[in-house]
């Protein structure tokens, strides 16, 4: 089952010449194998994206419930903290007997890791709305629904986005481990080349995973600025 066992002992040089076995990184080899890395990169993106979206779909409503019913908070935090603390690889492997080998198992585990941060940050954001802002909105004649949609939720957005940012890079990081149980993402190449003396494969997969995380991080930062323009407004006056 382990992909590691399927890797060739001698690297597959393909048509490429000019690469030496002890070289740190060989561009020609990388260019030759780009198709494989590109395919894994695309998989990595959607494996991560599915987990993050499902995490949001679960955590945001849960935070809203806990905001209205505070006694719901402690059980939700305990549950998501336990999920968060299980070693992800153990989580993956233990799920196999239940959900089988495949994408479903990977997503269950990855979603489990997104919940704590998304839930806690959203709840913190919802609770950070200044009481006088709520008082003014109520006194002006906004209905509770309008206050939630127009005031409370937009004001919670910076905290939600901060959580989303950490969750995104964490999920991309954890998704590299998915390859241990099913052939998805850049983890495949890492595990495939890990016992190999020709290290360009390892470096390529590792660097691509890092670049993906950094690009995703930058995109979330950009998105945050776009959706919370007021947060950059300079503090002035009393």
């Amino acid at each position: 089952m382990s992909l590691r066992l399927q890797g060739p002992v001698i690297p597959d040089f393909g048509n490429t010449s000019g690469c030496k076995a002890n070289e740190t990184f060989c561009w020609d080899w990388f260019a030759d194998h780009w198709d494989r890395f590109a395919a894994e990169l695309v998989q990595h993106v959607y494996v991560s994206a599915i987990a993050i979206v499902i995490g949001l779909v679960i955590a945001l409503p849960a935070a809203l419930v806990a905001y209205r019913l505070p006694r719901f908070e402690t059980p939700a935090v305990v549950f998501s903290t336990i999920l968060y603390t299980i070693p992800v690889l153990g989580f993956f492997l233990l799920m196999i007997p239940v959900t089988g080998i495949g994408l479903f198992t990977i997503e269950i585990a990855l979603v489990g890791y997104t919940l704590l941060l998304l839930f806690r940050n959203t709840l913190t954001g919802l609770r950070s709305v200044p009481p006088e802002v709520r008082a003014a909105a109520l006194g002006m004649g906004l209905t509770p629904g309008q206050i939630l949609v127009r005031i409370t939720f937009p004001l919670a957005l910076p905290a939600v986005m901060a959580g989303l940012r950490v969750v995104t890079v964490t999920t991309i990081s954890l998704a590299t481990l998915a390859a241990y149980i099913a052939p998805y993402g850049l983890g495949q190449s890492i595990l495939f080349y890990i016992g190999n003396t020709f290290i360009s494969g390892l470096i390529s997969a590792g660097v691509l995973a890092i670049l993906l995380a950094l690009v995703a991080d930058a995109l979330i930062v950009g998105l945050t600025r776009l959706v919370t323009p007021w947060a950059r407004a300079r503090r002035g006056g009393a």
Binding site: M1, S2, T24, F25, I82, T85, I86, P87, L89, G90, F91, L93, L94, I96, P97, L117, R120, N121, T124, A162, G163, R165, V166, V169, I172, S173, L174, T176, L177, Y180, I181, L186, G187, I190, Y193, I194, I199, S200, L202, I203, A205, G206, V207, A209, I210, A213, L214, A216, D217
Partner: protein
């Protein structure tokens, strides 16, 4: 029955299990201590002087974005497998959390408090050690706590990094029976919670009286 098998595996191999737990703890401890040794002085210096703050914050965010397995993979290429490889990956995991919290804790001391300290004739060093750092203790401890839990929960990747004397000897080996996997996964979770609880007690003990414990999220 998987649970029975898991328990039997632990009961039958006490030396191995305890050895792997000890290995995991030592690896984590060394990594966290190195991360503290780098992050606390650096964060304190940046917070006190307020120079390079943007660089530090962005640098920390970049470090936080690095996938651990990718660091291990690149590390194998650059400096080979073994203790150093997994340790570097774990230091990189813990460092940004402790750095950011130290910086924020020191930088967010009320300007009035610092001015009062300066007005009383305290030197920069005295302000840092007697005013700013004590104020930052809850945040620094929170960063160390979160960082340590992250490190302990990730240290099993030592198995992938070619250092087998940890819980990773089982967890990173998918060919082993599910019962062993279950046993080690449960041990890993319990270890993380135990260390978290221990550090919470330490945090309360070292927080100066009169300073409320500031709840800090990892985010």
């Amino acid at each position: 029955m998987v649970l029975v098998d898991a328990w039997r595996f632990v009961a039958d191999n006490p030396a191995r299990v305890l050895g792997d737990i000890a290995g995991q703890l030592v690896l984590s401890l060394v990594s966290v201590v190195i991360a503290i040794a780098i992050a606390v002085p650096l964060g304190a210096a940046i917070g006190h002087t307020r120079r390079f703050a943007l660089l530090a914050v962005n640098g920390a965010n970049v470090l936080r974005a690095l996938p651990t397995l990718a660091i291990i993979a690149i590390g194998i290429g650059l400096y080979g497998v073994g203790f150093i490889n997994i340790m570097v990956a774990l230091v990189i995991l813990a460092l940004p959390l402790i750095l950011t919290n130290t910086y924020v804790g020191v930088a967010e001391v009320e300007p009035g408090t610092v001015e009062a300290a300066r007005g009383m004739g305290m030197t920069g060093w005295q302000i840092l050690t007697q005013v700013e750092l004590p104020h930052a203790v809850p945040l620094i401890m929170a960063g160390i706590r979160t960082g340590t839990v992250f490190v302990i929960a990730t240290a099993y990747l030592a198995g992938t990094a070619g250092y087998p004397h940890t819980l990773g000897s089982v967890i990173t080996n998918p060919t082993l029976p599910v019962s062993q996997l279950l046993a080690y996964t449960v041990i890993a979770v319990l270890l993380a919670f135990a260390v978290d609880g221990l550090l919470l007690i330490v945090q309360r003990a070292v927080t100066p009286a009169g300073m409320k414990i500031v709840p800090v999220t990892a985010a």
